[in-house]
Each structure stands twice: as C-alpha cells, then as structure tokens.
C-alpha cells in the first residue's frame, strides 16, 4: 500500500469521513485525530503544539473506542477553547478498551485560523479499525 499522507477524509453523502493510517494501531488513532482537526481548521499545519492536554477514554470494543477517542477530543477542545495538531497515545489497553493520551495544541484564535466546519460527533457509520498490508487503518464518518 502506498500512502501519500497518513490522514485523509473520505466521501459520505451528507457528512465527512475521517481516516487515520499508521504502522501501529496507536498511530492510526493519532492520525485519525489529525484528520478530524483538519476539517475544523483549514490551515491545520499552522496549529502550534504549545500546550499539552491529557486525554483518556474507554469503550466496549475496539472500533467504538475510536469514536470515543474522537468524541473525547472534540469535548476537550470545546471545554478548553483550543484545537489540537499532534497526539501521542501512551497507553492502549486492548483488554479493557481504554486509552490514555496526550494532545498538543493551542488556544483557538478564530482570527488566526481559517475556520472549517463544526463537528457534532463521531458516528458509527463506516466505522472500521483494521489492518491491511502492514498498516493499521482507523476511520468513521463524523456528523457536521
């Protein structure tokens, strides 16, 4: 599999699909989060990872854990009035479907960032976490 980028969006009739790709499951989740924030902020690459936020979440299975991760990031971003550009999953517990991570970002200065669209939540539509050709892929559609 050739990849030009490790995160991307994909087609959905009304909303937007986000997809993270990586050599490890953790990196696929991290890159899925980058796909999310690239929808919210157009000039995503200009977000500076100057502040660190601790994130933890859990679910009842691996695939719903990806939606929990995305939803937790959306909630933390709202509550802290910030946006994230980088992510580091420190612990991914596949027995209990829990993860703890760090998210790096900065205050959401609406004058400095070119705004995209608000994401209402990660959904179970097209939700898949799987491995293909040595790469992990984590994806779902987000409601915008």
């Amino acid at each position: 599999m050739e990849r030009t980028s490790l995160f991307e969006t994909f087609e959905h009739g009304a909303d937007i699909g986000i997809r993270g790709i990586g050599p490890t499951l953790e990196q696929a989740f991290e890159n899925g989060a980058k796909a999310l924030f690239s929808i919210i902020v157009i000039n995503f690459s200009s977000i500076k990872p100057v502040n660190i936020y601790q994130i933890s979440c859990f679910s009842f299975d691996l695939e719903p854990l990806f939606t929990s991760w995305i939803n937790q990031l959306l909630a933390e971003a709202d509550i802290n009035r910030c946006i994230f550009s980088d992510f580091k999953i420190n612990h991914l517990d596949l027995d209990n479907f829990r993860l703890s991570a760090l998210a790096f970002g900065e205050f959401f200065d609406t004058n400095r960032f070119e705004r995209g669209v608000d994401v209402k939540g990660a959904t179970f539509t097209e939700l898949k976490v799987y491995k293909r050709d040595g790469f992990w892929i984590a994806q779902c559609v987000v409601d915008v």
Binding site: A75, T110, R115, V117, D118, F124
Partner: protein, 476 residues
Amino acid sequence: MNINRLKRLDECQWEIPIFDDMHVPAIIYADRALIEEMDEKVYDQIANVASLPGIVKAAIAMPDAHWGYGFPIGGVAAFDPDQDGIISVGGVGYDISCGVRTMITGLTRQEIAPKIKTLVDKLFETVPSGVGSEGKIRLSPAKLDDVLIGGARWAIELGYGVPEDLDYIEEHGCITGADPSCVSETAKKRQYRQVGTLGSGNHYLEIQYIEEIFHQPSADAMGLKKNDVVVAIHCGSRALGHQIGTDYIQILGQASRKYNIPIKERELVCAPIRSSEGEAYYKAMACGVNCALANRQVIGHLVRQVFNDIFSGPEVKILYDVSHNTCKIENHYVDGEIKRLYVHRKGATRAFGPGRTELPEKFRGIGQPVFIGGTMGTHSYILVGQEKGEALVWGSACHGAGRAMSRNAALKRWKGKDVIQRLADKGIIVRTASYRGAAEEAPDAYKDVSAVVDAIDRAGLARKVARVKPMACIKG
C-alpha cells in the same frame, strides 16, 4: 433507490411491505423522481426502523430523506410505551431540536433594500457564528441548569425577548420533563460559552422576502403578504446536544443488550421507554430541546435588536419556531382511540393540522406553520400542517431539501469565494465564517427544494402557503 422494490400506494406514497422481522410496513412519501434520486440506504434504514419494538402503524420517510445515523434523515416513527415501545438516540440525532425560527419584520423588500448591506454586516457582527465562536452570555454550572429546565422562558426572564414570544414557539418555549441531572458534566461544560451561537455546517441566519403566496387564507392568518421580509434562523442545541447524543449512544448501546433488543445498525441502539435508561435519555434529550429553544430565543432577540437599531419600523415578531430533531410525547388517534406516543422526528418537522390545542389560537384554524429550508441560493417555503398529515404521519412534514452531493464532492467542484460571488451577482449577499462551509453548502449540492415541497403538498401532509427567496444569508 430501486423503485421496483416498492409498492406504489398512490402518486406520492410508496410502501416497503413487511419482510423479515419488520413489525410494520415502511412508507416513503415522495414522487417517482425523488424516489429514484434517493439513496438505497434510506430503504435499509427505514426498514430497520420498522423492526424496532413497539413501533406503531408504519416507519415513515419524508421526500427529503437521505442516509442518516440509525434513522434516515427525514425519518419519522411513533412508539407505544404500552407495547414495549423504545426510545432511540438515532431517532433524534446529535443536534437535538435543531430547527427553524421565522420572524416577521413588518418591513417590505423595498424598505429593506437600501440598508441591506448595513443590516447584514451588523447581524454578522452581532450573532456569533462559525466553529469556535462564543456567545456573550457566560454561565455558571447552576445557571446552565436553568437554561436546560427553562428553555426560551429562561432567555426571556434574562431580558432576551418578551413573554408573548412564547406563544409562537413549539412547547411554548419549554418542553417538560427536562432533568439536568441526566446530562453529563462534560455536556454542560461544553455549553457554557455557546448559548446564543449559530454554529456552522448547514446552520444559517437568512433574510428572505415573500415571492409568492399559494394559499391566501393561511397567509392572511399568519400576516404574510407578497414582498414582506422575514428572517429565518436555523440552529440547534450546539455542543450540549451533541454531547448528550454521544453520551447516550454508549448508554443505550448497553441497554439494548441488557433488554435483548435486536439492533440492525449500531446507531439504532435504544432502550424501552419504560426503563431507567430510556427515561434518563428522554430527560436528557428534553434538556437538549430546551437548550436549542433558548439558543434560538437569544439569537432571535439579537436579530430584533439589530433591526431596531437600523430601522424605525415595527417590532420584529416571531411567526413560529419549529424543531427538526426530537422525540416528543404526543396524543394521536390509533384505531379510533387516543394513544400517548413517543414520536421520533429525525430531520423532520412537527406539522400538526388545524384544531390541535398545542397550537396558538391564531393558527388553530389553519394548522401549524412549517418552514422548509432551501439553500442560500434557492427558495425556502412556508407551509401549514394538514389533518391528513396527522392521520398518515403523526402530524409531520419534511425539513429541507436534502443533500444531493457529498461535501467532499462539493469542495472539489466549487470554491467558497466563487460561490459567494455568484450569489452576489444574483443579488444575494452572503457573509460566512468559513469559505469551506460556503463551498460545501453551495446551492447546487442540494436537491430541488421545490420538488420536495410539492411532494409534501400533493401527499396532503402539509399545505404550501408561501415561497420565500433569500436576500442575504449568514452561514456559520
């Protein structure tokens, strides 16, 4: 959608007969062309809805139906608590009580025209819109609970509006049964700064004029005349509603397993209405409804203030305020008897017919006003609910045009700046916080709203009263 899989009942009514474990048939209201344009997922999703426990009469899809989460967008279903009926997050959606408030300005198109740019700029400056925007109201946790219980009433007590406004809002501005203890702290924290903000995506604030009247008696009752200017506000419960949906997808996911409810799609997770989880979701969802009603009340008041600042004309008044994404407890006739049902409307509008006591006296003779939003470049419509709609679809109608093209495809085809310029060339001013949003919401990315409305009118679900045309639009 493959039309050969459907049984035609009449010109605008198509049935998916019961198969497998469907409890009731599914009925799609649309003309042939709209059905053929509809995605196959609507077929699957509405058939899945028909398989849920306690569903009454039929699972219903409106002419603007498209692929949703659990229910299709444009899906309607009523559940009977006495027949083990359920309540579902997927039947309401993430943006709880997203809806439209239309306000009458008392001014004509000609009176507005000379000051339209000043008006739009002032509205854009006053009403917070777009991702990351914040309202001027700052709330403590306790005060936010007041919003969730009080809805538009809370806003009016704070000075955002006048008591008469409540007569023209569904549920008189405040749905009963809201319990903030059923809403997570995360949901509340996300809302502290978002009360009175428009949001983004397909939300908008639009200045429109009445281009054509179709039914004069209804227009007279509403006080609408050709060339009159109205303002439409489309927004919902913002982050609080989104978080309630997110939280309860997990909770009801566990409940579906606990109560052995077979689920064909993960977002159809649900709980019996009469269960602790089902009751908790209803109470939390009611908080989301009240949050949305408060948001639209605050925004409506800001609009009123801007008009007052710029024009010395009459006071801006609410025509009506309708919600799209709700589960409401309503009385309906089932086999000649009145039953208390939980009516889910996901991307669908309540459209009660004449005579219902829930309607303000002014509208009891004509039926409930219904607003069908188009796009920033095309028409929107004002309708009224019909008696036939109550018999067929629990007094419901569609809510918009429905997307015809994905957001990604729209982004590939258009640039936001070009979309705005093209609309300006047609005399429609657009202000937006996001050029990406403007491209995604390009008028040609949507179905023909007129065809959707005509299908509703021909099916007898609601009656066309007026067609309005945008003069200016603020996109989130």
